[in-house]
């Protein structure tokens, strides 16, 4: 007897659905095993998570609040991936976006008209994140340096840079030496919906999903991006300047990640603080992968990953588990989804040998 894979002639969406469902079941089973390994009653844990997230007002709010930065970072990674570029640096671009806008807020808060201030901060987040993103883009375009490694390493540099400021010049002297800046004035805050914590950033995120979709499918530059991703040789023959396009795509990608920072600072914290991104940039990689780099799919996958984030928070509160557990989940999810993909293209067959 032999088990082998046979290529499917075509893949129906029915098959995709079954594979995805099976993958989800596997994810739940693995996390069940994880709960048992750390001595937590899994059924009860699932029950608590489900109740906390879906049956409370706070849970729903939190889902949408956490979904906002994930949509941005997912979009950032997905856009670069459309051109077969890996932007693993959304975390750093997020941070440099917050750096740039905080600089504006600390310097011009009170000196500029209210509307101008927040628009200025918005633009600076784009520039800060975008320029930081352009570095791996430039190195890739000019010298062919592996963008995965450079974009990732820049995350550590960005984090150290923020630490330098937060433990130094920017620290608010009135807060017992916590690494946080002073709170921004109301002019530098995004409006919230009613008395919830959901803020206008969610709308901006949806607008950007539409903008990026339009760029990708309705503009010449989007066509060039997709062409260069699908067939770089054809793109080159067609006269696409791949070098410049690489830098541009990395700039836009970084800018979107910077906007995630903008929404977190102006929508929730109203100040810059250490660990302002709890891994949103890294999670963007999974959001993009689950969405198959489709901007509209990013909405769904950002919501899904938001559930993971909020579940981890619930576990943290109820069981005292560390928040870094979210990475464990993410690893398991990515592994499972990656591993299941093959079954949409192939079917498992068992062959009997006759004696």
């Amino acid at each position: 007897m032999q088990i082998y894979l046979e290529k499917r002639i075509d893949t129906s969406s029915w098959v995709k659905f079954i594979v995805l469902t099976l993958a989800l079941i596997v994810i739940v089973l693995i996390s069940l095993f994880c709960f048992l390994a750390i001595g937590i009653e899994p059924i009860e844990a699932y029950k608590i998570i489900g109740e906390e997230i879906f049956l409370t007002k706070y849970g729903w709010q939190d889902l949408l609040v956490k979904m906002t930065p994930l949509m941005f970072t997912g979009l950032a990674v997905a856009l670069a991936a459309k051109m077969r570029l890996w932007n693993i640096g959304a975390e750093g671009q997020f941070h440099m976006g917050t750096f740039a806008l905080t600089w504006v807020a600390l310097r011009y808060d009170g000196n500029l008209p209210d509307e101008i201030l927040i628009i200025f901060m918005f633009l600076m987040a784009i520039i800060g994140g975008g320029l930081w993103g352009s570095i791996p883009g430039f190195l890739k375009a000019r010298f062919g340096v592996n963008e995965i490694i450079t974009s990732l390493l820049l995350n550590y540099v960005a984090a150290a840079w923020l630490d330098h400021l937060l433990f130094g010049a920017w620290r608010d002297p009135n807060t017992n030496n916590f690494p946080i800046t002073k709170e921004f004035s109301e002019a530098a805050q995004l409006p919230s919906f009613g008395n919830t914590s959901i803020h206008a950033g969610l709308i901006i995120a949806f607008i950007f999903v539409i903008i990026i979709s339009l760029i990708l499918w309705k503009s010449k530059i989007g066509y060039k991006i997709r062409l260069s991703g699908d067939n770089p040789h054809a793109a080159r023959y067609a006269g696409v300047n791949i070098r410049n396009l690489t830098i541009l795509v990395f700039f836009i990608s970084g800018a979107i990640a910077g906007l995630a920072g903008f929404c977190e600072v102006t929508g929730i914290h109203y100040r810059l603080q250490q660990n302002i991104s709890i891994g949103y940039g890294y999670t963007g990689i999974i959001v993009a992968w689950l969405a198959k780099n489709n901007p509209l799919g990013v909405i769904v996958s950002a919501f899904f990953m938001s559930i993971v984030f909020v579940s981890t928070e619930v576990l943290q509160i109820e069981y005292g588990l560390p928040i870094s557990m979210v990475y464990l989940y993410q690893g398991i999810i990515l592994f499972t989804v990656l591993g299941s993909d093959i079954f949409t293209e192939y079917k498992l067959r068992i062959r009997q040998f006759k004696a």
Partner: protein, 309 residues
């Protein structure tokens, strides 16, 4: 002079985990499999080594357990990227997430615990050579073990049949396949073997460098090692130079302040990462200038008999 010896001595210590990890990466990538999960594997190795050390107080057990568990975890990478033919890059990233989460989850309660670090054992005669002696031969046993690993992996890759086969898997898997060699088998072997070395690299943190547990104990060194594999041109002996070069940067990070040089500690923290980017860029430029194919030709490509990719 004294300061130089001190720096170089520290550089070897700081470079040792990088060296183990780079060697592991070289072996895996020579067989054609990118491993971006090094950071995660190092964290798993560090965690297991620390836990076993805490419970048994035996360095050998700690090391073996770290190595074996990293090997087991890298089997997931092998399963997903080789057997199930998913993207090696994505699978490697998943491995990094997985390892980071695992060490965060199980390391959470260990924060603040300490173990006894490895002691230095000077090698008689050799350690009395000026400069080189105290730098290279007045170290702990794991450092000596890393010298052996460098030579062993060089010998294995370039002087044995097994090594030739492993390297062929990275250059022309379809040829190997037609010769009746199992591409899957060799690649899996290289990934797991490499993963075991990377785990030892991680174990060096709690066993020697920082004998207490902190979250994210490896601090991105796994990623530096990913870059070092390229910098070393996929060669074990060159990995030695690369690892110690970064060892110097890391040692300076700790010592410049003692010298009274007034630099923000956060800038010093950036130094190794900025240096990595710089060095990687220079290596890539040199690589392009040389015009010869140093990188394994089929690195990162999925092999599946009968299908062109």
């Amino acid at each position: 002079m004294d300061f130089l010896v001190q720096i170089l001595f520290a550089a070897v210590g700081m470079g040792t985990p990088l060296l183990f990890a780079t060697l592991g990466g070289v072996i895996s990538e020579r067989a054609g499999v990118i491993n971006l999960g090094m950071e995660g594997l190092m964290l798993v190795g560090a965690l297991v080594a620390f836990v076993v050390m805490l419970n048994t107080g035996n360095y050998f057990y700690a090391l073996v357990a770290a190595s074996v568990s990293s090997g087991i975890v890298s089997m997931i990478h092998g399963l997903v990227s080789l057997v199930l033919r998913a993207s090696q890059i994505a699978s490697g990233l998943a491995l990094t997430f997985f390892g980071t989460g695992l060490s965060g989850l199980f390391g959470d309660k260990l924060t603040g615990e300490t173990v006894e670090p490895l002691t230095r054992i000077p090698i008689p005669f050799l350690s009395s050579i000026p400069v080189l002696g105290p730098v290279l031969f007045n170290q702990d046993l794991l450092v000596y073990f890393s010298y052996i690993c460098v030579l062993f992996s060089w010998w294995l890759l370039f002087k044995t049949r097994l090594g030739l086969n492993i390297r062929s898997m990275g250059e022309a898997p379809e040829v190997c396949d037609s010769l009746g060699l199992s591409v899957l088998g060799y690649r899996f072997f290289a990934v797991v073997g490499g993963g075991m070395l990377i785990g030892i690299g991680g174990a060096y943190f709690p066993l020697a460098l920082t004998p207490f547990w902190v979250d994210g104990i490896t601090a991105g060194r796994g990623w530096i090692a990913v870059a070092l594999v390229i910098f070393a041109f996929w060669h074990p002996l060159k990995a030695l130079g690369g690892a110690y070069l970064f060892g110097i940067a890391l040692a300076l990070e700790l010592r410049l302040q003692i010298l009274g040089i007034d630099i923000s500690p956060y800038f010093l923290k950036m130094l190794p990462y900025v240096l990595t980017i710089l060095v990687l860029t220079l290596a890539t430029i040199r690589h392009n200038r040389l015009g010869i194919q140093v990188m394994p030709a089929e690195l990162g490509n999925i092999f599946f008999r009968g299908e062109k990719h």
